[in-house]
Structure formats: C-alpha cells, structure tokens
C-alpha cells in the first residue's frame, strides 16, 4: 500500500482542502452551539433540510438554497410555536423536525432520484460535482466572514443575553443571525458528511475543545485544529477503504473526543480521578 497515493489525485487534494474548510466553519460554530445549549437545534435543523433539498432538486434550483430555506423554516417555526403555546422548545423541535424530515423522505421516494440526492443523505466529498464544490466553498467562506467579526458579540449573547441587551446590542438580530449561520453551516457540510451525520460536526468539535481549555479564544483554536485534523484523516482513510467518507470523518472526530475525555489535563477523566485522591 502506497501511503502517499491519495496525494497523486487532484480530486483527493480538493476533497482534503474542502473538508478542512468545512471543518473550520463547523468547529467555530460548534463552540457557540454547545455553549448556547443548541445541540438539539443543530440536529433538528440538519434533518429539516431534507424536504428543501428534494424540493430544490425538483424545481431545478441550487440544492443549497432549498436546504437553507428549509433549515431556517424549521428553526423559526420552532421559535414561533414555543412563543405562542405552552409547549417547551425541545419538544416543539422534536415535532417540527421529525415532521419535516418525514415529509422529505416521502418526497425523496416519490421522485426519480439519481445518486446525486443520495449524496445529500450520506455525503460524498470524493465524488463531489463542480457546482456543489463551489457552492460548498462559497457558503463556507461567507459563513466565516459573518462569524469571525461577530465572534465577541455572539459570545456575549450566548453568555449573558440580558447584559448584551443592556449594552445596546440587538439581541434579536444576533439570535436570528446565529440561526441563519447554523442553517448555512449545515448546507456547507451536506456534501462532506451528509444530513444524517452533520450533527456530529456541529457538536463534537466544541465539546472536545471544551474539555481541553477554559478560555473561549483557545477553545475556538483547539476546535478548529481538532476538526481539520479529523476531517483530513477521515478523507485520507476513506480513500483506502473506498467510501463512506462522512462516516470516517465522524469516527475520527469521536476518537479525538474520547482521547480528550480521558487525557485532558484539567477536565479529563484521569485528571478528575487524580484530583479526587
């Protein structure tokens, strides 16, 4: 087996670069999601994009647009139902996203699919098409351009929304901005890991980083490093086993998380044991 073989193919180089880019976006967003307690929201929105993707396919518009609209619809209608009924948010979310996902599945089976739509469910970065590649790159960069300048405002919003408001920050706008960025990030990750596994990209990086540091700035950096490493490892390994790239990336993420869980210097299991003694 030639370990350098993957690097001889331009599609592999592209896949590595794109997955590193997508991983960076996911990693940064994930730090906010886990601190805001929005892990379930990530799961919900990612499932809810399915009817949007299929609908966009039928209408012949870019899949990313359909996915984005459906994802945002899920998030916003969840907020609306919660505000106008007595049901708790997580419960509402459970109803809305499963409903939308089921609708997507029915649409999915009703139309003549090609392999293309299958990729949306499971991701297929090694066989990614030109249009989708560019859509992924553009959405990722746009998301980064929104997240990075606003990272401190978003941090304050997640930490203490009342104080953010008293300082004159528009917390409503930040709320919807974070939701939109979530939907956009999911759109960007679809090609890499697929609908079913996106939530792993939205939750694991932040959790791993959280175990390793107590400073938010460091958390962002650690999350990005860990995720880029996991993404590239996943793509690299999937070349040899010939497929399931998304799953390989997610397994790599989970392994790195387990390592952090056990060996993290301050919050790891071993450190906890030691401090108990």
């Amino acid at each position: 087996m030639n370990l350098a073989a993957p690097f001889q193919y331009s599609f592999m180089i592209e896949a590595l670069l794109v997955s590193a880019l997508v991983g960076t976006v996911c990693a940064i967003l994930s730090c906010y999601l886990i601190l805001k307690g929005w892990a379930l929201m990530g799961d919900a929105v990612s499932h809810a994009v399915l009817p949007g993707v299929v609908g966009a396919y039928v209408l012949g518009i870019p899949l990313a647009v359909g996915a984005f609209i459906a994802g945002l619809t899920c998030a916003i209608s969840t907020g609306w139902i919660k505000a106008n009924s007595r049901i708790k948010e997580d419960t509402v979310m459970g109803i809305v996203f499963t409903g939308m996902f089921a609708l997507g599945l029915v649409m999915f089976t009703q139309i003549k699919t090609d392999a293309h739509l299958n990729h949306i469910l499971f991701g297929n970065i090694l066989g990614i098409e030109r249009d989708d590649l560019w859509a992924t790159v553009i959405v990722s960069i746009a998301t980064l351009l929104i997240l990075l300048p606003l990272r401190k405002d978003l941090l304050l919003y997640c930490f203490d929304p009342a104080h953010a408001r008293s300082l004159g920050l528009n917390t409503n706008r930040l709320h919807y901005l974070l939701l939109s960025v979530l939907a956009a990030t999911i759109v960007a990750s679809l090609q890499a890991v697929g609908i079913l596994l996106v939530v792993a990209m939205l939750v694991t990086p932040g959790c791993t980083a959280r175990l390793l540091t107590d400073r938010f700035d460091h958390m962002l950096i650690v999350a990005v490093v860990v995720t880029v490493l996991a993404s590239c490892t996943g793509v690299y390994i999937s070349f040899f086993i010939n497929g399931a790239t998304g799953a390989c990336i997610v397994i790599a993420q989970a392994l790195l998380f387990s390592l952090a869980l056990v060996f993290a210097p301050k919050h790891g299991l071993i450190a906890n044991k030691r401090s108990l003694r």
């Binding site: 930490f159 107590d214 400073r215 938010f216």
Partner: protein, 299 residues
C-alpha cells in the same frame, strides 16, 4: 456627560405578560450625586422597577426619562449600568473574570470589539476597586457567591455609566466587602453619579443613602432619608413584619444607660430614638444632630 443627569419615573404602571400588575402609578425623581435606597418587602416590585428603568419591562402607562431622554436614548449613550439581583448565566462558561469585566467595555469599543489600552486600564481599575484583581485569571464558575457578585459589580463599573442600578448588591456579601462597596458608592456619588440600590439591609440605609424610595406595589414615599425613612413610613412599607427590640420593654435597666451594646450577625441594626428619630452609628460628622438632640433633652 449628559446636560443634567437625572432619573424621572412618572406615573409608571408595570404589568407582566401574565397580567400581574407589579407596580402601579409609581413616580419619583433623582438628581446627580445621589445614592438612593430602594426598600420594600419581597415581591413589592423593586426588581420590576429596575427592569422598567432598563427598558426590559415596558410600562403599560407612564414614562421613564433618563437625563431628559428616553430609555433607548440612554442605552445608546451608555448612561446606565445595571447589576441584576441574580445573574442568570451558565457558570461553567469558558470565560475568565477578566473577560467578563471586559464585556462591560463592549459598548465603548468598535464593532470588532478589540480592546484598547484604555479599556484594559479601566477593566483592571474596576477589578481593583472591588478587590478582585488577584482572581482575574479564574474561570467565572470557580468563585464563591460573594466573589461572583463583585465581578458583576466590576463589570458595571467598567461600563462607566453615570447611573448605576444595583439590585440587592449586599445579599450574600460579607461585612468587609459590603463596606468596601459602600465606600466605592460614596466615591462615585462624589463624582456626581446616581446610584439606585435595592436592599433589605435597613440598618445600612441611613449610613450611606441620602435618598430613599419605599415601595410596595406602588411608591409609598420618596425623598431625603431623614424625612422618608421614618418609623411610620417603614411600618407602612413592611406592615409590622419587621423584627423589633423595644428597650423599654426589655430587661435593660436605667442604670445600663447608653452603654448597651447591639450586635447583629449580618445586618446593621436600624435604631430609632424616643420620638422616632433616626439614630446613626457614628457621631462623627453628625455633630449638629447630637446638639439638636441635647437641646430636645433639655426642653
């Protein structure tokens, strides 16, 4: 600085979403260089009044004017800083004491929120003023309850608001920290700030507040401490629920004279003289009162 610093609450009625009227027809006015105590029983509407002044609760009737402008204008001009009764934050959040106090400066930074040397100076000065400098690197959850309170006080100081609203800053704070905070408030008063402080610690009110607002779902009385903080008004506000110690009904005898010692564990005692006069802890600086009382004694 705004032309003339003031808080004007006029005929405010505050209603919560569930229809509960927490405050009815409340009116009072504060000018610059004031420490005003906000006193009332649990549920009397103290926190509600703060939230109304902050614009978090919109008055169903009446107006709040700050420095002559609306609440929104005051927010834009960064006039008001607010320390809520309880911080509803996730204490495991990965931010340090320094980071939290720096958040108080966000309003003064550009949109990228990059701190300048000035911001760092103010943050470190604010931490110093509440005695939390040595904890600045700590993660926010690794502090005691009183230390957490001090950090959020420092954040309010770092905002450099001309008006500071403190909702029960002394609850769960030790005696030493309490007097440090009181000294700090006095300094700020001398600099011309307005401070509105809610407290259940009645004994300390005459010691550092020059104005008092008594609330019980409306404003019962508002004005200078000497005239408003009377036994009569307090029984109106508390309806006889205050603990009392009547010297003439106690085992204390005449020969004990005035050498009786009063100890309390966390709250300062509030002492009224024979005719319901407010009595102070220190004679120092209140020589005129001592003289007056003496004269009354002779009459």
């Amino acid at each position: 600085m705004p032309e003339r610093l003031s808080i004007e609450v006029t005929d405010v009625t505050a209603v919560y979403a569930n229809g509960h009227i927490a405050l009815r027809n409340a009116s009072f006015k504060l000018g610059p260089g004031t420490i005003c105590a906000l006193v009332g029983v649990n549920g009397s509407g103290k926190s509600t009044l703060f939230k109304t002044i902050m614009g978090f609760v919109r008055p169903a009737k009446g107006t709040v004017r700050i420095a002559g402008g609306t609440v929104e204008e005051a927010r834009r001009q960064k006039i008001v800083a607010y320390v809520p009764q309880t911080e509803e934050v996730d204490w495991s959040f990965p931010v340090s004491v320094w980071d939290v106090v720096m958040m108080g400066r966000y309003g003064h930074m550009n949109f990228l929120r990059i701190p300048r040397a000035e911001d760092r100076r103010i943050v470190s000065e604010s931490l110093d003023r509440v005695g939390m400098t040595e904890f600045k690197e700590r993660q926010i959850g690794e502090l005691s309850g009183g230390q957490k309170k001090r950090v959020f006080l420092a954040r309010a100081l770092a905002q450099r608001g001309q008006i500071i609203l403190l909702d029960e800053p002394f609850t769960g704070v030790d005696v030493q920290t309490e007097s440090a905070i009181i000294d700090l408030l006095r300094e700020l008063r001398d600099e011309g700030h307005i401070m509105l402080v809610s407290t259940h610690n009645l004994g300390s009110v005459p010691e550092f507040c020059d104005q008092v607002v008594l609330v019980n779902r409306t404003i019962l009385a508002a004005g200078p401490t000497e005239t408003v903080f009377t036994e009569e008004n307090l029984s109106l506000a508390f309806g006889g629920v205050l603990r009392q110690f009547h010297f003439d009904e106690s085992t204390i005898q005449d020969h004990d004279g005035r050498t009786v010692k009063l100890l309390t564990d966390d709250e300062r005692p509030l002492v009224f003289g024979k005719d319901g006069h407010l009595e102070y802890k220190d004679r120092l600086g209140r020589e005129h009162l001592v003289k007056e009382r003496e004269k009354e004694g002779r009459d």
